[in-house]
Structures are given as structure tokens and as C-alpha cells.
């Protein structure tokens, strides 16, 4: 099997997208760093968490677990697994596109996977992006922004403005809403949109935001699998 392209050109296209995503991620990193500083987690630990976990929601949950003083290895692992369960869906949906690069390129690329660049990469792939280095390109700047934000927040947290005032909490929803809008090209595409929204609201109310994302993805996938018409157009 011939491998899909994995070149500097694709990486640079990813970087360009990552640039747009990295500023809000930096602000979000600031928020995490500030929370970590508030609960007396040192900057080195905060930075270490941002490198190894690289997921704001999971890190914030872990910090609150540590703050309560009840953290065990089991609860730490379970917290991250539960909050990041959505990454199972992200990886699964990337597979058909990303696997064409071969495992030695695909797996390292996944280390740089986050919510925002998953959305951006799925969008790019749908638009016809052939170069699999695109994902890593978007991810490098996300990681850079995340680490820079974490460090600044943890060290200078007390003198920084509230990230909410800058709209950082709406970064991911705004990208999701915009990219969803361009990807809806037929009336049939409104089905997963409606199913995802309904499932997210119901599940999030019962089990929290992280499961809301999982619920939306699973419900959308199941409905699509059950209603697919043989040789029909989506």
C-alpha cells in the first residue's frame, strides 16, 4: 500500500490552522496554571501535568481531586479515563484518514491530539486535505500555547486578568459551531446535528460535561449506522 503524503507542506498548513487555535488555548492554559497556583501546586508540577496529560478538562479534574486530599492512583487514573473518554471517539474517527500515514507517523501525531485540532483536522480531511502531517502541525502550536499558558498562569497567576473576560471559555464551542456550519452541506447532515445536541444535553445533565461529549458522539454514530441506506448518499 502506498503511504499518504506526510510532508513539511502539510505540516505548515496545519501550523497555520494551529496559530488560530493556539491563542485561546494559551488563555485556557493560563486558567489552568492559575488554578494550579491557587491550590499550591508548584509551576514545575503544573507544567509536568500539561506535558503528560495535555487535556485541560482532565487536568482541572485531577487538581480538584488532589486539592481534596483524597487522590489515590486508582481515582487519578479513573478521573482521567472518564474525562478523556471522548478521545476514544476522536481516535476512532481519525483512523480511516490518519492510518494511511503508517503507524510510525500516526501514533506520535496522536500525542498532539486535542479537542480543537481534532475538530480542525476532521474538517480539513473532509475538505480534501491529503497530507497527514496536518494533524501534527496543528498540534505542535496547541501544545506550545498550552505549556506557555500553564507556565505564565502558574507563576504570575495573581496579577493576570480573568480568562473568562477574554472569552476563552467559548473558544471550543465557537470553533465547533463554525466548523459544524460549513460541514452541513445537505439536509441529511442535520440528523447528526440534532441527535448530537439532544444527546449532549440529556447526558450532560445526568453525568456532566465530559460524558455529554461522549454521549453526543455515540448517539450520532448509532443513529447514522442504523439509518444508513445501502449505496445511498449521506
Amino acid at each position: 500500500m502506498t503511504r499518504a503524503p506526510f510532508t513539511w507542506a502539510g505540516f505548515r498548513r496545519g501550523l497555520r490552522m494551529g496559530l488560530a487555535l493556539s491563542f485561546p488555548i494559551l488563555i485556557y492554559g493560563l486558567a489552568f496554571g492559575m488554578v494550579a497556583a491557587q491550590v499550591q501546586i508548584g509551576w514545575a508540577t503544573a507544567l509536568g501535568m500539561s506535558v503528560t496529560i495535555f487535556s485541560g478538562s482532565a487536568q482541572l479534574a485531577l487538581v480538584s481531586l488532589m486539592q481534596g486530599g483524597t487522590a489515590t492512583l486508582w481515582t487519578a487514573a479513573a478521573t482521567v479515563l472518564v474525562i478523556n473518554a471522548r478521545y476514544l471517539l476522536f481516535g476512532a474517527t481519525l483512523r480511516p484518514w490518519l492510518s494511511a500515514a503508517g503507524p510510525s507517523r500516526a501514533l506520535p501525531s496522536l500525542l498532539l491530539l486535542g479537542d480543537a485540532n481534532w475538530i480542525a483536522t476532521m474538517r480539513a480531511a473532509e475538505k480534501g486535505e491529503e497530507d497527514r502531517a496536518y494533524l501534527a502541525g496543528t498540534g505542535v502550536l496547541l501544545m506550545t500555547g498550552w505549556l506557555t499558558g500553564t507556565l505564565i498562569g502558574a507563576v504570575f497567576g495573581s496579577v493576570l486578568p480573568d480568562p473568562r473576560a477574554l472569552g476563552a471559555d467559548l473558544m471550543l464551542p465557537a470553533f465547533a459551531a463554525s466548523m459544524m456550519t460549513v460541514m452541513v452541506r445537505s439536509r441529511a447532515a442535520l440528523v447528526p446535528v440534532a441527535v448530537g445536541a439532544a444527546a449532549a444535553l440529556v447526558v450532560a445533565q445526568q453525568a456532566g460535561h465530559a460524558w455529554g461529549i461522549v454521549g453526543a458522539g455515540v448517539a450520532g454514530a448509532v443513529v447514522a449506522a442504523l439509518t444508513v441506506r445501502p449505496a445511498g448518499k449521506a
Binding site: P24, T45, M49, T52, I53, A58, L62, M66, A71, L73, A77, V80, L81, Y87, L88, L89, G91, A92, R95, P96, L98, L110, L111, W118, A165, G167, L170, M171, A174, F175, A176, A177, S178, M179, M180, T181, V182, M183, V191, P192, V193, G196, A197, A199, A200, L201, A204, H209, G212, I213, G215, A216, G217, A219, G220, A221, A225, T227, V228, A234
Partner: protein
């Protein structure tokens, strides 16, 4: 509490598992039109879910910001610029104290 380095190691491994497991598991699922349709629908459903939860948790500012992002995308077809503009709308409205 266990030592910090152990907590971070375990949390890091859990995060790594989530990043790899879905991707690797797909190897064992045979390709089919149903699977194909499911994988294609998932991103749209997740994006819609994220938007819906933000709207439900937010108020007027969040609705106007995300509404602006959708409307500008529909008008200009430039999704990235529209999303950034949506965030700017939220920051602007909050600066006005709304």
C-alpha cells in the same frame, strides 16, 4: 496521597490510553457502510453537542457569540475567522458588563 510523581505517571498513562485506544481498536472493526456512516456522523454530532452544552450553560452573551460564529460562517464560509469573531463578540459584551 501517593507521591506526586506516581500520580502524574498514572494520569499520564491514562491520558495516553485514551489517545491511542480508539485509534488502535478500529483495526479490529471490519469496514462496512454502517461503520463508515457512523464515523462520518460522529464529528458533526460532537460539534453540535459541544455547541448545545455551551448554549445551555450560558446566557445571552454566549448565545450571541455562538450565533455570530454560525451566522458569519454561513455568510463568509470562513469558519476560522468566524469562530475568532464569535469569541471576540463574547469578550466585547463581557467588557461592556453584559
Amino acid at each position: 496521597m501517593p507521591p506526586l510523581w506516581q500520580l502524574m505517571l498514572v494520569a499520564g498513562l491514562a491520558a495516553l490510553t485514551c489517545r491511542f485506544a480508539g485509534y488502535l481498536a478500529m483495526r479490529f472493526l471490519p469496514a462496512s457502510p454502517r461503520l463508515d456512516a457512523a464515523l462520518r456522523a460522529t464529528p458533526l454530532a460532537v460539534m453540535s453537542g459541544i455547541t448545545a452544552m455551551a448554549l445551555a450553560a450560558g446566557g445571552l452573551v454566549e448565545a450571541l457569540a455562538l450565533g455570530a460564529a454560525v451566522a458569519l460562517t454561513a455568510l463568509t464560509r470562513n469558519d476560522v475567522a468566524a469562530a475568532v469573531a464569535g469569541v471576540a463578540v463574547a469578550a466585547g459584551l463581557r467588557a461592556l458588563g453584559i
